[in-house]
Amino acid sequence: MAAATAVAEATVLRHRTWRSRVSVNNVTLGFSLAWLAVVVAAAALPGVLATDDATTLDPTRVLTAPGEQTLLGTDHYGRSVLTLLVHGARAALVIGLAATLLGMLIGSLVGLVAGYLGGAADMLLGRFVDILMCFPGVLLALVIASALGASTTNLIIAVGISAVPGFARVMRGQVLTIRGRLYVEAARSAGFAPGRVLMRHILPNSVAPTVVLATVTVGTSVVVAASLSFLGLGVRTEIPDWGQLLAMGQPYLAGAWWISTFPGIVLTLTVIAVSLAGDWLRDRLDVD
Protein backbone atom coordinates (compact mmCIF):
# COMPACT_ATOMS: atom_id res chain seq x y z
CA MET A 1 0.00 0.00 0.00
CA ALA A 2 2.72 2.42 0.99
CA ALA A 3 4.64 1.52 -2.12
CA ALA A 4 1.61 2.18 -4.28
CA THR A 5 1.15 5.60 -2.69
CA ALA A 6 4.81 6.40 -3.24
CA VAL A 7 4.50 5.48 -6.91
CA ALA A 8 1.36 7.56 -7.27
CA GLU A 9 3.12 10.46 -5.60
CA ALA A 10 6.11 10.14 -7.88
CA THR A 11 3.82 10.20 -10.91
CA VAL A 12 2.13 13.35 -9.68
CA LEU A 13 5.49 14.98 -9.04
CA ARG A 14 6.77 14.04 -12.46
CA HIS A 15 3.87 15.77 -14.13
CA ARG A 16 4.18 18.97 -12.22
CA THR A 17 6.01 21.79 -13.89
CA TRP A 18 9.64 22.24 -13.24
CA ARG A 19 9.43 25.51 -11.43
CA SER A 20 6.86 24.37 -8.94
CA ARG A 21 8.93 21.37 -8.00
CA VAL A 22 11.98 23.44 -7.11
CA SER A 23 10.46 25.14 -4.12
CA VAL A 24 11.12 28.81 -3.58
CA ASN A 25 13.29 29.06 -0.50
CA ASN A 26 12.91 31.60 2.27
CA VAL A 27 15.76 33.83 1.09
CA THR A 28 14.41 34.31 -2.44
CA LEU A 29 10.90 34.75 -1.10
CA GLY A 30 12.20 37.31 1.40
CA PHE A 31 13.94 39.30 -1.31
CA SER A 32 10.87 39.16 -3.54
CA LEU A 33 8.52 40.35 -0.83
CA ALA A 34 10.97 43.08 0.22
CA TRP A 35 11.19 44.35 -3.35
CA LEU A 36 7.40 44.30 -3.74
CA ALA A 37 7.13 46.20 -0.45
CA VAL A 38 9.42 48.88 -1.87
CA VAL A 39 7.29 49.15 -5.03
CA VAL A 40 4.09 49.34 -3.00
CA ALA A 41 5.64 51.99 -0.73
CA ALA A 42 6.69 54.02 -3.78
CA ALA A 43 3.17 53.77 -5.18
CA ALA A 44 1.55 54.75 -1.89
CA LEU A 45 3.90 57.49 -0.76
CA PRO A 46 6.07 58.65 -3.67
CA GLY A 47 6.95 61.89 -1.88
CA VAL A 48 8.69 60.05 0.95
CA LEU A 49 10.97 57.92 -1.25
CA ALA A 50 11.85 60.62 -3.76
CA THR A 51 12.35 63.99 -2.20
CA ASP A 52 12.81 66.17 -5.29
CA ASP A 53 10.00 67.23 -7.61
CA ALA A 54 9.29 64.99 -10.59
CA THR A 55 7.81 67.71 -12.73
CA THR A 56 10.31 70.55 -12.50
CA LEU A 57 12.73 70.74 -15.39
CA ASP A 58 16.30 71.60 -14.48
CA PRO A 59 18.46 72.73 -17.41
CA THR A 60 21.58 72.77 -15.22
CA ARG A 61 21.67 69.00 -14.82
CA VAL A 62 20.53 67.62 -18.16
CA LEU A 63 21.65 64.02 -18.89
CA THR A 64 24.00 63.68 -15.92
CA ALA A 65 25.33 60.19 -15.24
CA PRO A 66 24.27 58.15 -12.19
CA GLY A 67 26.05 59.26 -9.04
CA GLU A 68 27.05 62.65 -10.41
CA GLN A 69 24.14 64.63 -9.05
CA THR A 70 21.47 62.03 -8.47
CA LEU A 71 21.66 58.33 -7.62
CA LEU A 72 20.34 57.05 -10.97
CA GLY A 73 21.19 60.00 -13.22
CA THR A 74 18.94 62.52 -14.94
CA ASP A 75 16.95 62.57 -18.20
CA HIS A 76 17.12 65.09 -21.03
CA TYR A 77 14.91 67.49 -19.09
CA GLY A 78 17.10 67.32 -16.00
CA ARG A 79 14.61 65.25 -14.02
CA SER A 80 16.00 62.59 -11.69
CA VAL A 81 15.42 59.09 -13.08
CA LEU A 82 14.97 57.75 -9.54
CA THR A 83 12.22 60.27 -8.86
CA LEU A 84 10.49 59.40 -12.13
CA LEU A 85 10.70 55.68 -11.33
CA VAL A 86 9.22 56.18 -7.87
CA HIS A 87 6.37 58.25 -9.26
CA GLY A 88 5.75 55.76 -12.05
CA ALA A 89 5.23 52.90 -9.59
CA ARG A 90 1.66 53.90 -8.80
CA ALA A 91 0.49 53.75 -12.43
CA ALA A 92 2.17 50.37 -12.94
CA LEU A 93 0.71 48.90 -9.76
CA VAL A 94 -2.79 50.30 -10.18
CA ILE A 95 -3.05 49.07 -13.78
CA GLY A 96 -1.49 45.69 -12.93
CA LEU A 97 -3.82 45.03 -10.00
CA ALA A 98 -7.01 46.45 -11.50
CA ALA A 99 -6.54 44.68 -14.84
CA THR A 100 -5.89 41.39 -13.05
CA LEU A 101 -9.01 41.85 -10.93
CA LEU A 102 -11.11 42.62 -13.99
CA GLY A 103 -9.74 39.68 -15.97
CA MET A 104 -10.17 37.38 -12.98
CA LEU A 105 -13.80 38.38 -12.35
CA ILE A 106 -14.94 38.04 -15.96
CA GLY A 107 -12.78 35.01 -16.73
CA SER A 108 -13.72 33.10 -13.58
CA LEU A 109 -17.40 33.78 -14.10
CA VAL A 110 -17.20 32.52 -17.68
CA GLY A 111 -15.26 29.44 -16.57
CA LEU A 112 -17.59 28.77 -13.65
CA VAL A 113 -20.74 28.93 -15.77
CA ALA A 114 -19.22 26.96 -18.64
CA GLY A 115 -17.86 24.25 -16.37
CA TYR A 116 -20.98 23.92 -14.24
CA LEU A 117 -23.65 24.07 -16.92
CA GLY A 118 -21.73 22.15 -19.58
CA GLY A 119 -23.49 21.38 -22.85
CA ALA A 120 -24.44 24.26 -25.12
CA ALA A 121 -23.38 26.98 -22.66
CA ASP A 122 -19.96 25.39 -22.34
CA MET A 123 -19.57 25.15 -26.10
CA LEU A 124 -20.68 28.73 -26.66
CA LEU A 125 -18.43 30.19 -23.97
CA GLY A 126 -15.61 27.94 -25.14
CA ARG A 127 -15.94 29.39 -28.63
CA PHE A 128 -15.86 32.90 -27.21
CA VAL A 129 -12.64 32.14 -25.34
CA ASP A 130 -11.20 30.51 -28.47
CA ILE A 131 -11.91 33.69 -30.41
CA LEU A 132 -10.22 35.83 -27.77
CA MET A 133 -7.23 33.50 -27.91
CA CYS A 134 -6.81 34.05 -31.65
CA PHE A 135 -5.31 37.42 -30.80
CA PRO A 136 -1.91 36.28 -29.57
CA GLY A 137 0.27 38.21 -27.13
CA VAL A 138 -0.36 41.90 -26.76
CA LEU A 139 -2.54 42.04 -29.89
CA LEU A 140 -5.91 41.92 -28.11
CA ALA A 141 -4.94 44.61 -25.62
CA LEU A 142 -3.51 46.62 -28.51
CA VAL A 143 -6.75 46.56 -30.52
CA ILE A 144 -8.95 47.34 -27.52
CA ALA A 145 -6.69 50.10 -26.28
CA SER A 146 -6.55 51.70 -29.71
CA ALA A 147 -10.33 51.53 -30.11
CA LEU A 148 -11.07 52.90 -26.64
CA GLY A 149 -8.52 55.68 -26.68
CA ALA A 150 -5.83 56.41 -24.14
CA SER A 151 -6.88 56.71 -20.51
CA THR A 152 -6.01 54.77 -17.38
CA THR A 153 -9.47 53.16 -17.24
CA ASN A 154 -9.31 52.10 -20.88
CA LEU A 155 -5.83 50.68 -20.42
CA ILE A 156 -7.12 48.62 -17.47
CA ILE A 157 -10.04 47.34 -19.58
CA ALA A 158 -7.74 46.47 -22.49
CA VAL A 159 -5.17 44.64 -20.37
CA GLY A 160 -7.88 43.04 -18.21
CA ILE A 161 -9.80 41.59 -21.15
CA SER A 162 -6.64 40.07 -22.57
CA ALA A 163 -6.29 38.16 -19.27
CA VAL A 164 -9.83 36.72 -19.48
CA PRO A 165 -9.08 33.54 -21.51
CA GLY A 166 -6.47 32.30 -19.02
CA PHE A 167 -8.78 32.65 -16.02
CA ALA A 168 -11.72 31.15 -17.88
CA ARG A 169 -9.73 28.05 -18.82
CA VAL A 170 -8.30 27.49 -15.34
CA MET A 171 -11.65 27.94 -13.62
CA ARG A 172 -13.52 25.72 -16.07
CA GLY A 173 -10.98 22.94 -15.66
CA GLN A 174 -11.16 23.18 -11.90
CA VAL A 175 -14.96 23.23 -11.80
CA LEU A 176 -15.09 20.15 -14.01
CA THR A 177 -12.91 18.31 -11.47
CA ILE A 178 -14.81 19.50 -8.40
CA ARG A 179 -18.25 18.98 -9.94
CA GLY A 180 -17.82 15.23 -9.81
CA ARG A 181 -16.80 15.10 -6.14
CA LEU A 182 -18.96 13.23 -3.70
CA TYR A 183 -19.78 16.22 -1.49
CA VAL A 184 -21.14 18.14 -4.48
CA GLU A 185 -23.34 15.23 -5.35
CA ALA A 186 -24.45 15.06 -1.71
CA ALA A 187 -25.32 18.76 -1.68
CA ARG A 188 -27.23 18.40 -4.89
CA SER A 189 -29.19 15.38 -3.79
CA ALA A 190 -30.00 17.16 -0.52
CA GLY A 191 -32.03 19.48 -2.75
CA PHE A 192 -29.92 22.65 -2.63
CA ALA A 193 -30.48 25.12 -5.46
CA PRO A 194 -27.84 25.04 -8.24
CA GLY A 195 -26.75 28.60 -7.38
CA ARG A 196 -26.08 27.61 -3.79
CA VAL A 197 -24.19 24.46 -4.73
CA LEU A 198 -22.11 26.53 -7.12
CA MET A 199 -21.30 29.36 -4.73
CA ARG A 200 -21.04 27.44 -1.45
CA HIS A 201 -19.54 24.15 -2.51
CA ILE A 202 -17.88 24.33 -5.90
CA LEU A 203 -16.44 27.85 -5.93
CA PRO A 204 -14.62 27.76 -2.56
CA ASN A 205 -12.93 24.52 -3.57
CA SER A 206 -11.93 25.81 -6.99
CA VAL A 207 -10.21 29.07 -6.12
CA ALA A 208 -6.66 27.90 -5.39
CA PRO A 209 -5.42 27.69 -9.01
CA THR A 210 -7.11 31.00 -9.76
CA VAL A 211 -5.30 32.68 -6.88
CA VAL A 212 -1.96 31.43 -8.20
CA LEU A 213 -2.78 32.54 -11.73
CA ALA A 214 -3.89 35.95 -10.46
CA THR A 215 -0.53 36.48 -8.78
CA VAL A 216 1.36 35.74 -11.97
CA THR A 217 -1.10 37.80 -14.02
CA VAL A 218 -0.28 40.91 -11.99
CA GLY A 219 3.26 40.64 -13.36
CA THR A 220 2.12 39.98 -16.94
CA SER A 221 -0.35 42.86 -16.78
CA VAL A 222 2.37 45.27 -15.67
CA VAL A 223 4.42 44.17 -18.69
CA VAL A 224 1.52 44.36 -21.16
CA ALA A 225 0.62 47.84 -19.90
CA ALA A 226 4.27 48.90 -20.19
CA SER A 227 4.37 47.49 -23.73
CA LEU A 228 1.34 49.53 -24.74
CA SER A 229 2.92 52.61 -23.18
CA PHE A 230 6.14 51.87 -24.99
CA LEU A 231 4.22 51.78 -28.29
CA GLY A 232 2.70 55.15 -27.44
CA LEU A 233 -0.76 53.82 -26.60
CA GLY A 234 -0.54 54.55 -22.89
CA VAL A 235 -1.75 57.54 -20.95
CA ARG A 236 0.13 60.72 -21.73
CA THR A 237 0.85 62.36 -18.44
CA GLU A 238 3.37 64.84 -17.19
CA ILE A 239 5.19 62.09 -15.32
CA PRO A 240 5.99 59.17 -17.66
CA ASP A 241 5.18 55.62 -16.59
CA TRP A 242 7.84 52.90 -16.75
CA GLY A 243 7.07 51.91 -20.34
CA GLN A 244 7.17 55.51 -21.55
CA LEU A 245 10.39 56.11 -19.66
CA LEU A 246 11.99 53.16 -21.48
CA ALA A 247 10.80 54.52 -24.83
CA MET A 248 11.92 58.04 -23.90
CA GLY A 249 15.43 56.83 -23.21
CA GLN A 250 15.81 54.97 -26.51
CA PRO A 251 17.16 57.92 -28.54
CA TYR A 252 19.77 58.48 -25.80
CA LEU A 253 20.90 54.83 -25.53
CA ALA A 254 24.34 55.50 -27.00
CA GLY A 255 25.28 58.13 -24.41
CA ALA A 256 22.79 58.22 -21.56
CA TRP A 257 22.11 54.50 -21.07
CA TRP A 258 20.66 55.04 -17.61
CA ILE A 259 17.33 56.53 -18.72
CA SER A 260 16.16 53.22 -20.25
CA THR A 261 18.25 50.83 -18.19
CA PHE A 262 16.87 51.58 -14.73
CA PRO A 263 13.19 51.37 -15.68
CA GLY A 264 14.04 48.10 -17.46
CA ILE A 265 15.68 46.70 -14.33
CA VAL A 266 12.85 47.87 -12.09
CA LEU A 267 10.26 46.35 -14.41
CA THR A 268 12.13 43.03 -14.61
CA LEU A 269 12.70 42.84 -10.85
CA THR A 270 9.03 43.49 -10.20
CA VAL A 271 7.92 40.75 -12.58
CA ILE A 272 10.47 38.29 -11.13
CA ALA A 273 9.35 39.08 -7.58
CA VAL A 274 5.69 38.58 -8.47
CA SER A 275 6.43 35.36 -10.29
CA LEU A 276 8.48 33.94 -7.40
CA ALA A 277 5.70 34.87 -4.99
CA GLY A 278 3.33 33.01 -7.32
CA ASP A 279 5.58 29.93 -7.26
CA TRP A 280 5.69 30.01 -3.49
CA LEU A 281 1.91 30.30 -3.36
CA ARG A 282 1.62 27.39 -5.80
CA ASP A 283 3.66 25.22 -3.46
CA ARG A 284 1.77 26.35 -0.40
CA LEU A 285 -1.67 25.84 -1.90
CA ASP A 286 -0.49 22.58 -3.46
CA VAL A 287 -1.64 23.50 -6.94
CA ASP A 288 -0.26 21.58 -9.91
Binding site: D130, F135, G137, G232, Q250, L253, S260, T261, T268
Partner: protein, 311 residues
Protein backbone atom coordinates in the same frame (compact mmCIF):
# COMPACT_ATOMS: atom_id res chain seq x y z
CA UNK B 1 -6.41 11.13 -42.19
CA UNK B 2 -7.91 13.38 -44.85
CA UNK B 3 -11.13 13.42 -42.90
CA UNK B 4 -9.32 14.51 -39.74
CA UNK B 5 -7.64 17.37 -41.59
CA UNK B 6 -10.89 18.51 -43.18
CA UNK B 7 -12.70 18.49 -39.85
CA UNK B 8 -9.93 20.46 -38.18
CA UNK B 9 -9.94 23.08 -40.95
CA UNK B 10 -13.73 23.39 -40.90
CA UNK B 11 -13.68 23.91 -37.13
CA UNK B 12 -11.46 26.94 -37.72
CA UNK B 13 -14.05 28.71 -39.87
CA UNK B 14 -16.54 29.81 -37.16
CA UNK B 15 -13.63 30.92 -34.97
CA UNK B 16 -12.32 33.06 -37.80
CA UNK B 17 -15.77 34.57 -38.38
CA UNK B 18 -15.92 35.35 -34.67
CA UNK B 19 -12.55 37.08 -34.93
CA UNK B 20 -13.82 39.36 -37.72
CA UNK B 21 -17.00 40.21 -35.79
CA UNK B 22 -15.05 40.99 -32.62
CA UNK B 23 -12.55 43.12 -34.54
CA UNK B 24 -15.32 45.01 -36.27
CA UNK B 25 -17.26 45.64 -33.08
CA UNK B 26 -14.13 46.81 -31.28
CA UNK B 27 -13.22 49.28 -34.01
CA UNK B 28 -16.67 50.60 -35.02
CA UNK B 29 -18.73 50.66 -31.86
CA UNK B 30 -16.12 51.94 -29.46
CA UNK B 31 -15.42 55.68 -29.32
CA UNK B 32 -12.88 57.15 -31.67
CA UNK B 33 -13.33 59.17 -34.85
CA UNK B 34 -11.11 58.23 -37.81
CA UNK B 35 -12.06 61.39 -39.72
CA UNK B 36 -10.87 63.60 -36.88
CA UNK B 37 -7.68 61.55 -36.66
CA UNK B 38 -7.14 61.90 -40.41
CA UNK B 39 -7.67 65.66 -40.36
CA UNK B 40 -5.31 65.85 -37.40
CA UNK B 41 -6.89 68.93 -35.86
CA UNK B 42 -7.13 70.86 -39.13
CA UNK B 43 -10.51 72.52 -39.47
CA UNK B 44 -12.75 71.26 -42.25
CA UNK B 45 -16.22 72.24 -43.42
CA UNK B 46 -19.08 69.85 -42.54
CA UNK B 47 -19.43 69.08 -46.28
CA UNK B 48 -15.84 67.86 -46.50
CA UNK B 49 -16.27 65.69 -43.40
CA UNK B 50 -19.53 64.26 -44.75
CA UNK B 51 -17.89 63.63 -48.10
CA UNK B 52 -15.06 61.69 -46.40
CA UNK B 53 -17.55 59.67 -44.35
CA UNK B 54 -19.32 58.67 -47.55
CA UNK B 55 -16.08 57.82 -49.30
CA UNK B 56 -15.03 55.53 -46.45
CA UNK B 57 -18.50 54.06 -46.17
CA UNK B 58 -18.77 55.23 -42.56
CA UNK B 59 -22.24 56.70 -43.22
CA UNK B 60 -23.70 53.23 -43.61
CA UNK B 61 -24.90 51.02 -40.77
CA UNK B 62 -22.38 48.83 -38.97
CA UNK B 63 -23.92 45.50 -40.16
CA UNK B 64 -23.85 46.83 -43.72
CA UNK B 65 -20.20 47.86 -43.34
CA UNK B 66 -19.40 44.46 -41.87
CA UNK B 67 -21.05 42.63 -44.74
CA UNK B 68 -19.07 44.66 -47.30
CA UNK B 69 -15.86 43.99 -45.38
CA UNK B 70 -16.52 40.26 -45.11
CA UNK B 71 -17.47 39.71 -48.75
CA UNK B 72 -14.49 41.72 -50.02
CA UNK B 73 -12.12 40.03 -47.55
CA UNK B 74 -13.13 36.66 -48.99
CA UNK B 75 -11.94 37.98 -52.34
CA UNK B 76 -8.67 39.04 -50.67
CA UNK B 77 -9.67 42.70 -50.83
CA UNK B 78 -9.14 44.24 -47.41
CA UNK B 79 -10.27 47.73 -48.37
CA UNK B 80 -8.40 50.98 -48.88
CA UNK B 81 -6.29 52.78 -46.30
CA UNK B 82 -7.80 56.06 -45.06
CA UNK B 83 -4.39 57.64 -44.74
CA UNK B 84 -2.49 56.51 -47.83
CA UNK B 85 -5.47 55.65 -50.09
CA UNK B 86 -3.66 52.47 -51.09
CA UNK B 87 -5.23 49.00 -51.10
CA UNK B 88 -4.60 47.34 -47.72
CA UNK B 89 -3.92 43.93 -49.27
CA UNK B 90 -1.06 45.42 -51.27
CA UNK B 91 0.34 47.23 -48.22
CA UNK B 92 0.36 43.99 -46.22
CA UNK B 93 1.80 41.96 -49.11
CA UNK B 94 4.67 44.44 -49.36
CA UNK B 95 5.47 44.19 -45.64
CA UNK B 96 4.72 40.64 -44.60
CA UNK B 97 7.86 39.05 -46.03
CA UNK B 98 10.02 41.04 -43.62
CA UNK B 99 7.83 40.01 -40.66
CA UNK B 100 7.78 36.32 -41.59
CA UNK B 101 11.56 36.39 -41.97
CA UNK B 102 11.84 37.87 -38.48
CA UNK B 103 9.40 35.39 -36.93
CA UNK B 104 11.04 32.43 -38.67
CA UNK B 105 14.54 33.41 -37.56
CA UNK B 106 13.22 34.01 -34.04
CA UNK B 107 11.58 30.57 -33.91
CA UNK B 108 14.88 29.01 -34.95
CA UNK B 109 16.79 30.90 -32.24
CA UNK B 110 14.16 29.99 -29.66
CA UNK B 111 14.25 26.30 -30.60
CA UNK B 112 18.05 25.99 -30.72
CA UNK B 113 18.58 27.88 -27.45
CA UNK B 114 15.73 26.12 -25.71
CA UNK B 115 16.68 22.60 -26.76
CA UNK B 116 20.38 23.09 -25.95
CA UNK B 117 19.87 24.66 -22.52
CA UNK B 118 16.90 22.48 -21.64
CA UNK B 119 18.61 19.16 -22.35
CA UNK B 120 21.82 20.36 -20.69
CA UNK B 121 19.89 21.22 -17.54
CA UNK B 122 18.09 17.88 -17.61
CA UNK B 123 21.25 15.80 -18.01
CA UNK B 124 23.07 17.75 -15.29
CA UNK B 125 19.95 17.78 -13.14
CA UNK B 126 20.31 19.47 -9.73
CA UNK B 127 23.84 20.65 -10.55
CA UNK B 128 24.94 24.27 -10.77
CA UNK B 129 24.26 24.20 -14.53
CA UNK B 130 20.65 23.27 -13.84
CA UNK B 131 20.41 26.10 -11.32
CA UNK B 132 21.96 28.60 -13.71
CA UNK B 133 19.61 27.61 -16.53
CA UNK B 134 16.67 27.93 -14.15
CA UNK B 135 17.67 31.45 -13.10
CA UNK B 136 18.33 32.46 -16.72
CA UNK B 137 14.95 31.17 -17.81
CA UNK B 138 13.20 32.99 -14.96
CA UNK B 139 14.95 36.28 -15.76
CA UNK B 140 14.30 35.76 -19.46
CA UNK B 141 10.58 35.15 -19.12
CA UNK B 142 10.31 38.18 -16.82
CA UNK B 143 11.91 40.64 -19.23
CA UNK B 144 9.62 42.54 -21.59
CA UNK B 145 10.79 42.10 -25.19
CA UNK B 146 11.26 45.81 -25.82
CA UNK B 147 13.65 45.96 -22.89
CA UNK B 148 15.65 42.98 -24.18
CA UNK B 149 15.78 44.75 -27.56
CA UNK B 150 17.15 47.95 -26.04
CA UNK B 151 19.75 45.96 -24.07
CA UNK B 152 20.92 44.17 -27.22
CA UNK B 153 21.15 47.50 -29.07
CA UNK B 154 23.17 48.94 -26.21
CA UNK B 155 25.72 46.11 -26.12
CA UNK B 156 25.96 44.84 -29.67
CA UNK B 157 25.41 48.09 -31.57
CA UNK B 158 26.76 50.85 -29.40
CA UNK B 159 29.39 49.10 -27.25
CA UNK B 160 30.71 46.45 -29.63
CA UNK B 161 29.53 47.89 -32.95
CA UNK B 162 28.78 44.41 -34.29
CA UNK B 163 25.28 44.85 -35.70
CA UNK B 164 23.26 47.86 -36.84
CA UNK B 165 20.72 49.14 -34.29
CA UNK B 166 17.89 49.85 -36.73
CA UNK B 167 16.62 49.24 -40.23
CA UNK B 168 15.88 46.17 -42.30
CA UNK B 169 17.02 44.41 -45.43
CA UNK B 170 20.45 42.98 -44.71
CA UNK B 171 21.21 39.84 -42.73
CA UNK B 172 23.10 41.88 -40.12
CA UNK B 173 19.97 43.90 -39.49
CA UNK B 174 18.01 40.72 -38.87
CA UNK B 175 20.28 39.43 -36.08
CA UNK B 176 19.30 41.69 -33.17
CA UNK B 177 15.52 41.79 -33.79
CA UNK B 178 15.43 38.01 -34.30
CA UNK B 179 17.48 37.46 -31.14
CA UNK B 180 15.13 39.75 -29.18
CA UNK B 181 12.03 37.95 -30.34
CA UNK B 182 13.60 34.49 -30.15
CA UNK B 183 15.02 34.90 -26.65
CA UNK B 184 11.62 36.08 -25.41
CA UNK B 185 10.27 32.66 -26.36
CA UNK B 186 13.32 30.57 -25.43
CA UNK B 187 12.56 30.41 -21.69
CA UNK B 188 9.36 28.47 -22.26
CA UNK B 189 11.04 26.02 -24.64
CA UNK B 190 13.93 25.49 -22.21
CA UNK B 191 11.59 24.59 -19.36
CA UNK B 192 9.58 22.27 -21.53
CA UNK B 193 12.59 20.45 -22.99
CA UNK B 194 14.08 20.00 -19.53
CA UNK B 195 10.90 18.41 -18.17
CA UNK B 196 10.45 16.30 -21.20
CA UNK B 197 14.06 15.01 -21.26
CA UNK B 198 13.91 14.17 -17.55
CA UNK B 199 10.72 12.24 -18.13
CA UNK B 200 12.19 10.25 -21.03
CA UNK B 201 15.41 9.59 -19.05
CA UNK B 202 13.29 7.74 -16.50
CA UNK B 203 11.80 5.37 -19.09
CA UNK B 204 12.68 1.71 -19.10
CA UNK B 205 14.20 1.73 -22.56
CA UNK B 206 16.88 4.17 -21.39
CA UNK B 207 17.84 1.78 -18.60
CA UNK B 208 17.95 -0.98 -21.19
CA UNK B 209 20.28 1.06 -23.40
CA UNK B 210 22.55 1.74 -20.43
CA UNK B 211 22.58 -1.96 -19.60
CA UNK B 212 23.47 -2.71 -23.20
CA UNK B 213 26.59 -0.60 -22.56
CA UNK B 214 25.80 2.32 -24.85
CA UNK B 215 27.63 5.52 -24.03
CA UNK B 216 25.62 8.20 -22.21
CA UNK B 217 26.07 10.77 -24.95
CA UNK B 218 24.81 8.43 -27.64
CA UNK B 219 21.77 7.55 -25.56
CA UNK B 220 20.89 11.19 -25.03
CA UNK B 221 21.42 12.39 -28.59
CA UNK B 222 20.08 9.40 -30.50
CA UNK B 223 17.34 8.09 -28.24
CA UNK B 224 16.28 10.50 -25.52
CA UNK B 225 16.15 13.73 -27.53
CA UNK B 226 14.20 12.06 -30.31
CA UNK B 227 11.44 11.20 -27.88
CA UNK B 228 11.63 14.39 -25.90
CA UNK B 229 11.36 16.56 -28.99
CA UNK B 230 7.69 15.81 -29.74
CA UNK B 231 6.11 18.23 -27.24
CA UNK B 232 8.75 20.79 -28.19
CA UNK B 233 7.65 20.77 -31.82
CA UNK B 234 4.14 21.66 -30.70
CA UNK B 235 5.25 24.52 -28.52
CA UNK B 236 7.66 25.99 -31.06
CA UNK B 237 4.95 25.71 -33.70
CA UNK B 238 2.40 27.43 -31.51
CA UNK B 239 4.96 30.07 -30.62
CA UNK B 240 5.42 30.94 -34.27
CA UNK B 241 1.96 32.52 -34.34
CA UNK B 242 2.73 34.41 -31.15
CA UNK B 243 6.05 35.52 -32.63
CA UNK B 244 4.28 37.15 -35.60
CA UNK B 245 2.25 39.12 -33.05
CA UNK B 246 5.37 39.86 -31.01
CA UNK B 247 6.91 41.44 -34.08
CA UNK B 248 4.61 44.41 -33.46
CA UNK B 249 6.80 45.48 -30.56
CA UNK B 250 10.16 44.30 -31.89
CA UNK B 251 9.70 46.01 -35.26
CA UNK B 252 8.93 49.24 -33.46
CA UNK B 253 12.05 48.98 -31.28
CA UNK B 254 14.32 48.34 -34.27
CA UNK B 255 12.42 50.57 -36.78
CA UNK B 256 12.20 47.48 -38.95
CA UNK B 257 9.88 47.10 -41.95
CA UNK B 258 6.95 44.77 -41.45
CA UNK B 259 3.26 44.43 -40.70
CA UNK B 260 3.90 45.19 -37.02
CA UNK B 261 5.19 48.65 -37.86
CA UNK B 262 2.30 49.12 -40.28
CA UNK B 263 -0.15 48.20 -37.50
CA UNK B 264 1.31 50.57 -34.93
CA UNK B 265 1.23 53.46 -37.41
CA UNK B 266 -2.33 52.63 -38.44
CA UNK B 267 -3.46 52.50 -34.81
CA UNK B 268 -1.98 55.94 -34.21
CA UNK B 269 -3.95 57.33 -37.17
CA UNK B 270 -7.12 55.28 -36.48
CA UNK B 271 -6.81 53.88 -39.98
CA UNK B 272 -9.53 51.19 -39.53
CA UNK B 273 -9.06 49.23 -42.76
CA UNK B 274 -5.33 48.81 -42.14
CA UNK B 275 -5.78 47.86 -38.45
CA UNK B 276 -8.51 45.38 -39.40
CA UNK B 277 -6.48 43.94 -42.24
CA UNK B 278 -3.25 43.44 -40.32
CA UNK B 279 -4.91 42.00 -37.19
CA UNK B 280 -6.98 39.67 -39.36
CA UNK B 281 -3.88 38.46 -41.19
CA UNK B 282 -2.07 37.80 -37.90
CA UNK B 283 -5.10 35.93 -36.54
CA UNK B 284 -5.35 33.85 -39.71
CA UNK B 285 -1.65 32.98 -39.52
CA UNK B 286 -2.13 32.01 -35.88
CA UNK B 287 -5.15 29.80 -36.61
CA UNK B 288 -3.52 28.15 -39.63
CA UNK B 289 -0.35 27.40 -37.65
CA UNK B 290 -2.45 25.86 -34.88
CA UNK B 291 -4.13 23.56 -37.36
CA UNK B 292 -0.86 22.64 -39.06
CA UNK B 293 0.75 21.88 -35.69
CA UNK B 294 -2.18 19.68 -34.71
CA UNK B 295 -1.95 17.73 -37.91
CA UNK B 296 1.84 17.47 -37.99
CA UNK B 297 1.72 16.22 -34.43
CA UNK B 298 -0.20 13.23 -35.70
CA UNK B 299 2.47 12.58 -38.31
CA UNK B 300 5.33 12.79 -35.81
CA UNK B 301 3.69 10.73 -33.10
CA UNK B 302 1.98 7.51 -34.21
CA UNK B 303 0.14 7.24 -30.89
CA UNK B 304 -1.74 10.48 -31.54
CA UNK B 305 -2.53 9.36 -35.08
CA UNK B 306 -4.37 6.29 -33.88
CA UNK B 307 -6.34 8.30 -31.31
CA UNK B 308 -7.35 10.85 -33.94
CA UNK B 309 -8.33 8.19 -36.44
CA UNK B 310 -10.42 6.39 -33.84
CA UNK B 311 -12.41 9.45 -32.79
Amino acid sequence: MGFVIARRVLAGVPTLLGVTVLLFIALRLLPGDPIAALLGGASASPEVVENLRQQFGLDRSVPEQYWTFLTSALQLDLGTSYATRQPVTGMIAAQIGSTLQLAGAAALISAVTGITLGSLAAIKRNSWIDGLVRVLSLVNTSMPSFWVGLLLIMFFSFQLGLFPATGSGSLGQLVLPAATLGLAAAGTVTRLVRNSVIEVLGENFVTALHAKGLRGRVIVVKHVLRNAIIPTVTVVGLQLGGLVAGSVIVETVFSRRGIGQTLVQAIGGQDYPVVQGVVLVIAVIYIVINIVVDISYAYIDPRVRSVLAAS
